[in-house]
Amino acid sequence: MAMKFSTFRRHIREGTKNIVRNSWMTVASVGAVTTTLVLVAAFLILILNLNQVVDNIENDVEVRVYIDLQAEEEEIEELGDQIAGLNNVESFYFQSKEEELEMLIEDLGEDGEAWELFEQDNPLNNVYVVNTERAEDLSGVASRIETFENIEDVSYRSDVVDRLLDFNQYARIIGGVFVAALLFTAIFLISNTIKMTITARSTEISIMKLVGAKNNFIRWPFFVEGTLTGVLGTIIPIGLVLGGYHYLYTNLNDRIDFPFIELLPWDPFAWQLSLMLLGIGAFIGIWGSVMSVRKFLKV
């Protein structure tokens, strides 16, 4: 039988009133959700930004394939096809020795002027610049290219790559520890709150059943109350994200001089994160309330 609209309204009303009626319990539950979400937000800000840094660096590292000076045009094309056929190659492009020289001159600035002399008799190689899908693929791709014909040299910045891979490893371990701590805290806080709610509410639920309330009738206001509790628990974390990240972004970003390290822009990152927190908060609230009534609705 479908619920009457007036009954639906009643459930919303009662669920909302319960927030006030059970004020100390609301404070405890909202506190648990708030703490959890502040941790979640801190973790996400950290990990997503790290991810971004790693991405930036990965995009910067490349394999440079120096093509033999004696190579014919067809041979160069054939080499290109071979590179295209490799696994884990994201993209690659050809750069002629003239372009190489131009870049060199540009990079060196004043000192580069000396190189202009070589424009007539360019000693540089034509190159293929290869980007891999991930940084850890670089050495594999490089060593396979080395086996191809018409190559003078293959190089990549192994120091950067090694450090990046190390960094990735640490980030993963730290992230794992963080997630474990976070889950532990969240489960502890929330299950404790639910236990408290259960004891406080068991009499209430049994009375409702004595008066002839069906299980769903009892469940609905709890569901509403849980959702609201979860959402109330997102207010402080969202405030912190919007305000705190703004502070971080404006103050920290200018001070970091590394080319790779750049924080995710406040807009839209902070908004997206806030929306996510809202979802997680509502979910935790609903899940908690469903868990706390379930036991008593069983026969």
């Binding site: 009954t7 009375i207 004595l210 008066v211």
Partner: protein, 228 residues
């Protein structure tokens, strides 16, 4: 109408609370259930709103065998039987008004009718002026009157009370009994377990006396019959 046929109740711990109970209570009757503590009065009453199911035998409430109805249908039974307890069992965070309204909200009565009916029954138990109070702000007698208002709110044919005056002083008890008399006078079947010799002897009704899980006496206009 309430009928029990050879009802036995053995609890999980092995205690036999009802040991072959047969009885018939007609529509509109007013029945006291008396007997020493542990005689099985509460168990007898719990059979009537399926708080407990019989281990053996049948319990008919308005011709429906409640021992065999599905768990899902129990709420429907509870709505046709108003139940009143010694400890009132009011929802402590809800106001008097909200407590009574609850019984009507569960049957999805329309909100206008709920408002009207709640005030009507509160008026009937003399608590209209305390509609906004919460149970803690009321005396025991007043709380029991709220429970009565809730029990009769959707006009059940049967009202059951388990020692409703057990926590109340004699004077307040009589006020409650006058309410029960009124409810009975309107045609409602009333079953009431009690320890009050005074009430049973002064307000003469049918008396079912229990001992050791059995009905040992059943007489109209009976006496309490035990020393206190």
């Amino acid at each position: 109408m309430i009928e029990m046929k050879n009802v036995h109740k053995v609890y999980k711990n092995g205690v036999t609370a009802l040991n072959g109970v047969d009885t018939f209570i007609d529509a509109g009757e007013f029945v006291y259930v008396v007997g020493p503590s542990g005689a099985g009065k509460t168990s007898f009453i719990k059979m009537m709103y399926r708080e407990e199911s019989p281990t053996k035998g049948n319990v008919y409430i308005n011709s429906v065998d409640v021992a065999s109805i599905k768990e899902r249908k129990v709420p429907l039974l509870r709505r046709s039987v108003g139940v009143i307890f010694q400890d009132f069992k009011l929802l402590s965070k809800l106001t008097v008004y909200e407590n009574v309204a609850f019984a009507l909200e569960v049957i999805e009565e329309n909100p206008k009718k709920i408002r009207k009916r709640v005030m009507e029954v509160l008026d009937r138990v003399g608590l209209k002026h305390k509609a906004r109070f919460i149970p803690d702000q009321l005396s025991g007698g007043e709380q029991q009157r709220v429970a009565i208002a809730r029990a009769i709110a959707n006009n059940p044919k049967i009202v059951i009370a388990d020692e409703p005056t057990g926590n109340l002083d004699p004077e307040t008890s009589w006020e409650i009994m006058r309410l029960f008399e009124e409810i009975s006078a309107s045609g409602t079947t009333l079953v009431m377990a009690t320890h009050s010799q005074d009430i049973v002897n002064k307000m003469r009704k049918r008396v079912i006396a229990m001992e050791n899980g059995k009905i040992v006496r059943d007489e109209h206009r009976g006496e309490y019959g035990y020393e206190v």
